[in-house]
């Protein structure tokens, strides 16, 4: 009889994933830092994946569990696209993002029910051809699902969501959506110990998905306010901060 193993704490982790629906699609952002406790282990680790060029999946939390989830998702997508069924011979039907989201819900809930969760907050995004509407949803490690116009996992839930709620409109264009996400990622870089300034953007529209290469945010204006430069530790300051 084998002993029961279970995940009790995450070891190698990725931080926030942030996303929003804009006019014509959905945009996700995540940094590319992989942390090992407080150590920055790797600086170019993508956490946003494009499945069949049509669905985006990303997650924060334990990286090994994300790799497992992506392997399962890719296997499912491959099976859906290559296995014949009566419907698919006559009607070309591709795996909808919402169906993948529900599949992952079932996966996460089953693991949670065995006291051995995938330690992740997963984001699923896509474009529903039937309704011509972008799709954006999340699943947490307990299997809780939410479908929203604005999502943020990890620290993003505290720091990015207020910014998103303040600035979001349903008729944002892609440029405005990108600027809003970059602003969120910049704030996360400033205030999250486990975040970096190198990020990755992923977009999904009716034309399909694109995942960008990692690139560095421009934070040159964030360090030169006089109150920041001023030395508070000197005798004429308050000698500590």
């Amino acid at each position: 009889m084998s002993s029961n193993q279970r995940t009790t704490r995450p070891i190698t982790t990725g931080t926030s994933v942030v996303g929003l629906v804009y006019d014509g699609g959905v945009l996700l952002a995540a940094d590319t830092l992989l942390s090992y406790g407080s150590m920055a282990k790797s600086f170019n680790t993508p956490r946003l994946y494009s499945i069949e060029d049509r669905i985006l999946v990303g997650a924060s939390g334990e990286y090994s569990d994300l790799q497992e989830i992506i392997a399962k998702v890719k296997a499912l997508a491959l099976e859906e696209s290559t296995t014949s069924s009566m419907e698919s011979i006559y009607v070309e039907r591709k795996l909808p993002a919402k169906s993948l989201w529900n599949y992952l819900r079932a996966v996460m809930y089953q693991k949670r029910s065995k006291q051995n969760p995938y330690w992740n907050d997963v984001v699923v995004a896509g474009y529903d051809e039937q309704t011509s509407k972008p799709f954006l949803g999340t699943i947490d490690k307990l299997g809780t699902t939410l479908q929203e116009n604005l999502v943020a996992t990890g620290f993003g839930a505290y720091l990015a969501m207020p910014l998103l709620r303040e600035k979001w409109r349903p008729d944002l264009n892609e440029g405005e959506a990108r600027a809003l996400l970059e602003d969120c990622m910049k704030v996360l870089f400033y205030r999250d110990c486990r975040a970096s300034a190198r990020i990755q953007l992923a977009k999904c529209t009716s034309e399909g998905c694109i995942v960008s290469e990692p690139y560095d945010l421009d934070h040159s204006s964030g360090w030169n306010a006089p109150s920041m430069v001023r030395a508070t530790g000197d005798l004429d300051g308050d000698r500590g901060s």
């Binding site: 300034a197 560095d216 934070h219 360090w223 030395a231 000197d234 300051g237 500590g240 901060s241």
Partner: protein
């Protein structure tokens, strides 16, 4: 960290104060002036080290008034050591005392968590210091110029800030010598290395 050079000492620190994973202050000043030519580098609990440096600053000021002289770095270090040793159960403070005085020139002392006081050729502290121990062992030399010491300190600090999640922000340095103190500020977008490694 504190790196001596010919004629003085360079002290250098990052600027991140964190509460768990949240950055409470991304532009902190961890280099505290205890007297005209003596600085302390604070690491560990911000509250504890702020209280300790306030005390030592006060005692050194009283000492100067009593003796009419500038205090020595050794005096400052041993004052700090006494406070930490006698309260070791309550405190979590790692402090480096460095500066210049007319008696011994430039000197560097480190006071550990338990209250041991060590005079060292150079000193590092804080969670990020483990990532640059090898770098400094390889590149530190005695009798560097002020510029060389400053450049090495910023380089090591930048590397620590890249790899340690509890370190980050800007780099502050102070060069202390017989001529006085000279502060330097390196913004977070102009670090010699980082904030992410280029590979």
């Amino acid at each position: 960290m504190a790196l001596p050079f010919k004629g003085g000492v360079v002290v250098c620190a990052d600027s991140r104060t964190s509460t768990g994973s949240y950055v409470a202050n991304r532009v902190s000043d961890k280099l505290v002036q205890l007297s005209d030519n003596i600085y302390a580098c604070r690491s560990g609990s911000a509250a504890d080290t702020q209280a300790l440096t306030d005390y030592v600053h006060y005692y050194l000021n009283s000492w100067s008034l009593d003796t009419g002289r500038q205090p020595t770095v050794k005096t400052a270090a041993h004052l700090m050591r006494r406070l930490i040793y006698n309260n070791k159960d309550q405190l979590q403070a790692g402090v480096i005392i460095a500066g210049w005085d007319a008696v011994h020139g430039g000197s560097v002392y480190t006071i550990t968590l338990g209250g041991s006081c060590l005079e060292l050729p150079f000193a590092t502290g804080g969670s990020g210091s483990i990532f640059v121990a090898g770098l400094l062992d390889a590149e530190f030399r005695q009798e560097m110029t002020q510029e060389e010491a400053r450049t090495l300190a910023k380089k090591a600090c930048a590397h620590a800030m890249t790899r340690d999640g509890s370190s980050g922000g800007v780099i502050r340095t102070v060069a202390i010598s017989s001529e006085g103190v000279d502060r330097d500020y390196t913004p977070g977008n102009e670090l010699p290395f980082g904030p992410s490694a280029p590979f």
